[in-house]
């Protein structure tokens, strides 16, 4: 937005242009062409983000909205105190970290494994590659509905299989059970289910990234290693895997940032029940169920700060790596 009101930078004339003539024209045209994007992003993303910062310091409920004026705004830190002192916040934070870590690693491991398995041609490879993309392309609501149906305790295929073939005594409540004992170990069943769903939904993306990178791995390196007597596992470990480092690092960052803020998948599957209340679901609950704009904003701001810290850490690590 500032781009529109600042005078053109002098001395930045492009090659072979009359000074002031074409450069100035380019400057004006460039700003005009990006202005629709800048305006819409400014209105719907940047301005609301500033509003979150303001609202986080207000004592506001949803019912106050029709009546508030800027004059009513006063700064209070109560929302942050409320948010950070509640046990639910720390539980949700832990759930979010577990969820984001498990889904990130799971999706990447699955993506790499499938990419390697499909690396060399075989009859029907094209079809399998197409099928891999199905979970990714499927609308999340359709996918969640199908999963819910298949996991249903009464008519779901998974519980029917478990009881008739595996000999379960009772159906498992995959979507609502916070802890289920399996062989003496208590498994957070609902959380495991939403993690499995997210891995299933996102491994195709990791597969696509890794496949693209694998195609660029020079074949002669592996061939040479093979002649020198390196086994398949050694070749994978010492030659292919180091080549995948960059793409895997990028995927870790992207996947972690995405799953850290994931709302749809969890809310659609469990509604946040059974120990699956992540931070994003908690923000929604604060906003809609408790109708408290102040704490919802404060919680959202805390989430954003956490994400920013993670991102800064990553950028620093990446820089160090580059300079090393």
């Amino acid at each position: 937005m500032t781009a529109l009101s600042t005078p053109p930078a002098p001395g930045r004339a492009p090659r072979g242009a009359r000074p002031g003539g074409r450069a100035r024209q380019e400057d004006i045209q460039g700003r005009l062409l990006v202005s629709p994007t800048v305006v819409v992003v400014g209105l719907v993303v940047l301005l609301p983000f500033l509003a979150v910062v303001v609202l986080a310091f207000q004592d506001l409920r949803l019912i106050d909205i029709p009546r508030i004026t800027p004059a009513d705004l006063e700064v209070t830190f109560d929302n942050f105190a409320t948010v950070l002192s509640s046990a639910g916040f720390w539980t949700a934070l832990r759930t979010t970290v577990v969820y984001a870590t498990a889904t990130t690693l799971g999706a990447i491991v699955a993506g790499v494994a499938v990419a390697l398995a499909l690396r060399r041609p075989f009859p029907g490879r094209g079809l399998v590659r197409g099928l891999v993309l199905v979970p990714y392309v499927l609308p999340v609501v359709a996918a969640a509905t199908i999963w819910r149906t298949s996991l249903d305790t009464q008519y779901g295929v998974v519980n029917a299989f478990g009881r008739q073939v595996l000999g379960w005594e009772a159906p498992l409540a995959f979507l609502s059970s916070a802890g289920h004992e399996i062989g003496g170990v208590t498994v957070p069943l609902a959380l495991t289910t939403v993690i499995a769903f997210e891995i299933w939904k996102t491994f195709p993306l990791a597969f696509l990234f890794v496949t693209a990178r694998l195609q660029a791995v020079p074949g002669d390196l592996e061939e040479a290693a093979s002649i020198d007597g390196a086994s398949a596992l050694q070749r994978f470990w010492y030659i292919v895997l180091p080549q995948l480092r960059g793409v895997v690092a990028l995927l870790i960052v992207l996947r972690f940032l995405w799953s850290f803020q994931s709302f749809n998948d969890i809310y659609l599957l469990t509604g946040g029940a059974g120990g699956t209340e992540v931070l994003a679901v908690r923000v929604y609950e604060e906003l809609i169920t408790r109708a408290n704009i102040g704490t919802a904003s404060a919680l959202g701001l805390v989430m954003t700060v956490l994400l920013s810290v993670l991102l800064v850490l990553y950028v620093r690590m990446a820089r160090k790596e580059q300079s090393a």
Binding site: T2, A3, A9, R12, P14, E26, G30, R31, V34, T37, V38, V40, V41, L43, V45, L47, P48, F49, A51, V52, L62, I65, V114, A117, L118, V128, L131, V132, L133, V134, P135, L138, P139, V140, V141, A142, A143, A144, T145, T149, S150, Y155, V157, N159, V165, W200, P204, S226, I227, G229, S231, A232, Q261, F263, L268, V283, G300, L301, T304, L307
Partner: protein
């Protein structure tokens, strides 16, 4: 995988170890071959299984599903779940046809605007030197990283205040802002591939900037535009959170994602839910195949002309 490598460039050196592979090598190779087949089989089952399950459930009578949930192969076909899901409420249906119409408008509107905005923006970012270019290039990252749920709070407050809740236009605006930066970023890569010399020739022939974009750059970047458009369409068609926040009170305007999710709360038969889920998936899959053909044809046309 381990055929003889005599033709390899480094094979001048004798490699006696290759002649008699150790027992360990053989076991490892066999193990990996088996593992590979297992991974491929599991991939097919896991990827396609749930969708297939949904399709099979949607075409059989509900009584079959309840009587024997494990027997997913229909003994008798019954397609009545589709008209029930799609039909209007007055006719005893669940109104999904109307939700699809709403979603179609929202998704088409978002796609058209997002493409228009991002074509202009991407062209400027690639070809023009202007003040603030770096800011625009970096802007998409910020949008990408801000959690949707965080922006949902003030947008909900704002939209209730100015009365845009319950309006599909409000949704288009939000989807537009969320997709334009990424669309711009995607298109940039395609625009870079358009040779600048072609543009310079058109400029000399007297094209102004807009004519240049519409007549020269656009046709050459068409495959990229189709791919980007499909991406935007998918996001807008699938989006759930903002539809839930803004439209949940207004059943007339529900989108497909919101509609299906709300129906799971009522006691809607499982077969109808499956039919609905499959119905909203079809446009996405169709779009994918359509775009794939256009993408390939776009590339081959260029190749024919050399």
């Amino acid at each position: 995988m381990t055929t003889t490598r005599e033709r390899a460039p480094g094979a001048a050196r004798p490699a006696p170890a290759r002649l008699r592979p150790s027992v360990g090598d053989v076991i490892e190779r066999r193990g990996l071959a088996v593992l590979r087949v297992l991974v491929i089989a599991a991939t097919v089952l896991v990827s396609a299984g749930p969708l297939l399950y949904g399709v099979l459930l949607s075409v059989q009578p509900l009584s079959n599903v309840i009587a024997d949930p494990l027997d997913v192969i229909p003994d008798a076909f019954d397609f009545s779940a589709y008209p029930t899901a799609l039909g209007a409420e007055e006719d005893g249906g669940f109104g999904l046809g109307r939700f699809m119409r709403n979603s179609l408008w929202v998704a088409l509107g978002t796609t058209a605007l997002a493409i228009a905005f991002s074509v202009l923006g991407a062209y400027a970012a690639v070809r023009l030197r202007f003040f603030g270019r770096e800011t625009v290039n970096g802007m998409f990252l910020g949008v990408y990283l801000l959690p949707g749920i965080v922006l949902a709070v003030p947008l909900f407050v704002l939209m209730s205040r100015i009365g845009l809740t319950g309006s599909l236009f409000g949704l288009v605006l939000i989807y537009l802002a969320q997709t334009v930066p990424v669309a711009l970023y995607m298109l940039r890569n395609y625009f870079i591939a358009v040779p600048a010399s072609v543009e310079e020739a058109a400029m000399i022939d007297g094209c102004n900037r807009m004519q240049l974009i519409v007549r020269v750059v656009l046709p050459m970047a068409m495959p990229g535009i189709v791919a980007t458009g499909l991406y935007v369409f998918m996001i807008a068609w699938n989006e759930y959170l903002f539809a839930l926040l803004f439209l949940v009170q207004d059943r007339e305007r529900w989108t497909v994602a919101l509609g299906i999710a709300q129906l799971t709360e009522f006691s809607v038969p499982a077969t109808v839910l499956m039919a609905g889920s499959i119905a909203i998936t079809v446009p996405i899959v169709a779009g994918f195949f359509l775009a794939q053909r256009m993408l390939i044809s776009g590339l081959t046309v260029g190749a024919e002309k050399g």
